[in-house]
């Protein structure tokens, strides 16, 4: 088996197993209340991290580049209750324009 297919197979099998842990092993069973209170905050914690890393992460370094302008425009659009599609287009176009012009 080539290197490529070995990676594809191992990553695929591993990911399917990771995703199955909760629903297959715990399916339908409610979680203890304390655990639910913690898990409730996983979404904002991980989304906060994803926003930060997608905006400022550049490989293993942090970089302030044109993406920041795009995200700033997106933040204004979100604050003005713009639909998500418009938010995305504004962020993409702003960043692309900044790359072309700056």
């Amino acid at each position: 088996m080539s290197q490529t297919w070995l990676v594809v197979t191992l990553v695929g099998a591993g990911t399917i197993a990771i995703k199955a842990i909760g629903p297959v092993l715990l399916g339908g069973r409610p979680l203890p209340e304390g655990l639910s209170r913690v898990i409730e905050l996983l979404a904002p914690a991980l989304l906060g991290a994803l926003v930060a890393v997608q905006t400022l992460g550049s490989g293993q370094a942090l970089a302030v580049d044109e993406r920041v302008l795009g995200v700033a425009v997106a933040a204004i659009a979100i604050w003005r209750k713009a639909p998500l599609l418009l938010v995305v287009i504004l962020a993409t176009v702003t960043t692309a324009l900044a790359r072309a012009l700056l």
Binding site: V7, L10, T15, L46, A49, Q60, R67
Partner: protein
């Protein structure tokens, strides 16, 4: 609130699906350029269905990393799906087979769209959003892998900023009270602090620890 349906989930994820398809195209193009051929990128998108992990393993291999390093990087990036899967487990009922299949549709975006607050999730929103994202990702990858060269790095067009904007757009409705805002800010701070030191993906996993502020009454 009225019951939200599979179709609501599919509709809500529409804007994200466009960006996901775009990134799928770029994954197909880049994986093919690295020597994955045309079939392997498509199979990987269909089985792994996690863009950041797929990009990570391809880049590690391209940089001369080992198979073990490429696989570890990808699985570390996907480790977050263990707690995410547990959080939705009470809502994914049915046979073992259907739970296994439905679990694969749980990705960051479908999970965020299905969140109803207080740790509750809409099963139909989750599945509706998941199916649309899955099709977008696999079809995007196939287009990229088959068309190959001729499409530049999506970063040139600003598509990378789209992901940050999308996650921000998903975060804001969830940040309803001070604890949620605090968890988001703490998560962002942890991830940024670890990015220079930790392998890709670990900062995101570590940021999940911010949810422990939920233990404080």
């Amino acid at each position: 609130m009225t019951e939200r349906t599979f179709r609501d989930g599919a509709r809500a994820v529409g804007p994200l699906a466009v960006a996901v398809a775009g990134f799928g195209v770029s994954f197909g193009v880049i994986a093919r350029a690295v020597g994955f051929g045309w079939l392997a990128p498509i199979v990987m998108s269909a089985t792994t269905f996690a863009g950041s992990a797929q990009f990570a393993s391809v880049s590690v291999l391209r940089d001369g990393g080992t198979i073990a390093a490429a696989v570890t990087a990808a699985l570390l990036l996907n480790a977050r799906y263990a707690p995410i899967g547990i959080s939705v487990a009470p809502y994914l009922t049915g046979s073992l087979w259907s739970r296994l299949v439905h679990a694969q549709l749980v990705v960051d975006e479908s999970w965020a769209i299905a969140a109803e607050g207080e740790g509750r999730f809409s099963r139909s929103m989750l599945l509706g959003a998941g199916v649309v994202l899955y099709v977008s990702w696999v079809v995007g990858t196939a287009i990229g892998a088959l068309v190959g060269s001729g499409i530049g790095d999506p970063a040139t067009f600003g598509l990378d900023a789209a992901f940050a904007a999308l996650f921000l757009g998903l975060l804001v409705p969830l940040a309803r009270d001070r604890r949620h805002v605090a968890a988001a800010l703490l998560g962002a701070a942890i991830a940024l602090a670890l990015t220079p030191f930790a392998p890709a993906g670990v900062p995101i996993i570590a940021a999940g620890a911010a949810c422990l502020i939920g233990l404080k009454r």
